[in-house]
Symmetry: C2
Subunit: 293 residues, 2 copies
């Protein structure tokens, strides 16, 4: 068992329980609670929240300290998936093999379930008794920048607009920087804030976040060509069928793999400058670039 496997074994179940507790025993409309819970427990790789915890452990502190900061980013990620799947967006019927939120609860309730997760994410950060006031404010600030017009939502808009024509590799990377890397950046920075890391460490962790985020997307595109349909849970070649701009489409498959390797290397370089144990985060990076689904 790798250190990363052990880390997931030690922390994942506790995180899942913590996340679901945030929508349990709350006074709200039963249907809204069901819709929120449905998507929160739909699983996924939990990369963002587990990165929060992993950074704290890498700085030699108790990863449990990160649970609220981790639940907050998973709520933002989950709301973005619910809204992304809506008929007016990507119009997807299935996510991770299960019917999408709006297929089960209808478009209106799915929209509102996503809408309710955003304030829930910020609320959970203000509730955590273990965080100092300064930490709470920094976390709210970092998450709001990462999630909104300076981050994830900007990337989604850029992505929609890019579907209308050919784009360069730089433009494709910029889309993924905002759409994917910014929430990963929050995860790493949140862990660093809670571990009282230095500003210098945070700068290097942001670089690490950028490269791991873009690497994640490149591997996604490669799996769409080389992946096993049974493993990834969706038809191979769907990007090509949908005329999506991808790294292999712009660089060729070999070029995309070389590009992935360069982001892998840049991520390692950035991480090497952070004054923490590097093993766990290096294994996280390896998981992202070698994953089969």
């Amino acid at each position: 068992m790798t250190r990363l496997d052990a880390f997931f074994a030690e922390n994942l179940n506790g995180f899942e329980r913590f996340l679901l507790a945030s929508v349990e025993n709350v006074q709200t409309a039963v249907s809204l609670q069901k819709a929120m819970r449905y998507s929160l427990e739909a699983g996924g790789k939990r990369i963002r929240p587990m990165l929060v915890l992993a950074v704290i452990e890498s700085f030699g502190q108790n990863p449990q300290l990160g649970l609220s900061a981790a639940a907050a980013v998973e709520m933002i990620h989950t709301y973005s998936l619910i809204h992304d799947d809506l008929p007016c967006m990507d119009d997807d019927d299935l996510r991770r093999g299960k019917p999408t939120n709006h297929k089960v609860f209808g478009d209106a309730l799915a929209t509102l379930a996503g809408d309710a997760m955003q304030p829930a994410a910020f609320h959970i950060l203000t509730l955590e008794a273990q965080y100092t006031n300064i930490q709470k404010i920094r976390l709210v600030s970092e998450l709001s920048v990462a999630a909104g017009m300076h981050g994830m939502v900007r990337g989604q808009v850029d992505d929609i607009e890019a579907e209308q024509g050919d784009i360069s590799i730089e433009e494709l990377e910029a889309i993924h920087f905002y759409k994917t890397a910014k929430l990963i950046e929050y995860s790493l920075v949140a862990g660093a804030i809670l571990a009282n890391a230095s500003d210098q460490d945070i700068i290097h962790l942001k670089q690490f976040a950028k490269h791991i985020g873009i690497a994640f997307q490149i591997q996604d595109d490669i799996l769409d060509i080389e992946g096993d349909e049974q493993v990834i849970g969706k038809p191979v070649g769907s990007d090509i069928d949908n005329f999506k701009s991808t790294y292999p489409a712009i660089l060729g498959l070999a070029g995309a793999k070389a590009h992935l390797a360069s982001h892998d290397e840049a991520a390692r370089q950035a991480l090497s400058k952070v004054a923490c144990d590097h093993d766990l985060l290096t294994q996280f990076l390896e998981m992202v670039v070698t994953r089969k689904k």
Copy 2:
């Protein structure tokens, strides 16, 4: 000129400029910025943000202190209108006589413009240099509760579900308590937090918020029967045509007016217990219960 008129004349333009500045000069997708700006400058009565400022003035302090807290609530209100108007929700083509956001920018961009306003609201609270750390955290906490599954979104879900059958006057009031009064409650509490009001004052201001919020909705329903189409900007009688549960439908028109008077009186009672100047907030209440649009 009433004191309230003078207060709006002194503070409204400054608020409008402050609100728009929050989406100007930002690095983001041009189309996203345009879509956010379109709805933010579409106006409306600005009741929520002006209440923030009015409470601060009522406690004898400079209302300008409330600008960030006021912009935050107007952003939450504005996103809720954009999402409410979407085809999967109320499917409205016009708001305040102008095409709705999705009619101009398309459903996907309208969804994302609304999505981006939520983190923008929380971000602006963390940026304000005049607020103490404790004030920032309390404002983020109050706004997140008022906006989400414990507040406005819960009210929207309850409202959708109530359309499927007859409801009691208590159920109708509960819908409006969450859907409308909770954001008004944030506005009053935010002003009180920034004016360093006592916990006791905040309890009474929450009562005032509840009654002014429900009164606002009762007057809305009355205007749908008695209003002047030219003044209110939409066809009179649309609630009846849409089989909406309204106060006049349940209580009769005279009964609804008596009910409005009882909330007006209860609001005055609650306000009388708050240790601040009552003139401005009383005039706010009078505006809400006597407005013609």
